[in-house]
Symmetry: C2
Subunit: 126 residues, 2 copies
């Protein structure tokens, strides 16, 4: 698609604070894509359920990842005022709109990562 940004400086990755760069920094986080994917599939999950579905994640990382995504407006946080508290997370419409580009990444990875692995393990080119 054409870029509708003035030609002087593309709105690309070349400015500090450009949107693409910021986004990659964000979804490049170790657990971000996993949270989004799991919530895209399950719809709504509680903290402990997320934790259970994400082997290897620590409380701290899950907590901070969720905080970040809520702050970014990608996740909605719903608290049931009971004891013990129940906190539910689900994607916002903004978060769901990320599914498409994330799916593009996933498809590329599944289609081509074998080639990448081959290239990495093959000493010489060709």
């Amino acid at each position: 698609m054409g870029d509708l940004v003035p030609q002087g400086r593309r709105g690309d990755l070349f400015d500090p604070g450009c949107p693409t760069r910021q986004l990659l920094d964000r979804i490049g986080g170790k657990w971000v894509a996993m949270v989004i994917t799991v919530l895209a599939e399950q719809g709504e999950l509680r903290f402990a359920e997320l934790e259970r579905r994400m082997p290897g994640v620590s409380h701290k990382m899950l907590s901070s990842t969720l905080q970040q995504l809520v702050a970014d407006g990608l996740l909605a946080r719903r608290v049931e005022p009971v004891v013990p508290p129940r906190v539910h997370y689900q994607l916002t419409s903004l978060g769901r709109s990320l599914e498409a580009p994330l799916a593009a990444i996933r498809e590329w990875a599944e289609a081509h990562m074998a080639e990448v692995d081959l290239a990495r393990t093959t000493p010489g080119p060709r």
Copy 2:
């Protein structure tokens, strides 16, 4: 020999060593997307030209990023046997195939990062 990952679960982000996760770790690197984008536009560039087009990059990071991308089979490295040496880099067909998912990311970012910024700067939930 590469060890095969048992495919009991989805090839998603949930196994260590899953393709999507590996890819995100890789293109999440600070300069990777920039190198790919600049080479996608320019076709072929030398080391110093890349450096000039990427403000803020250090020799080391450009060098290591290029090494990584060459090792991954995304870039082709061509050396002119002269002194001083001239080294040219261009995307391989594999590297060019990454343009599409990268464009998807870019489009999402340009379309929605304003909303993300708004969410981040807005104190209360809506």
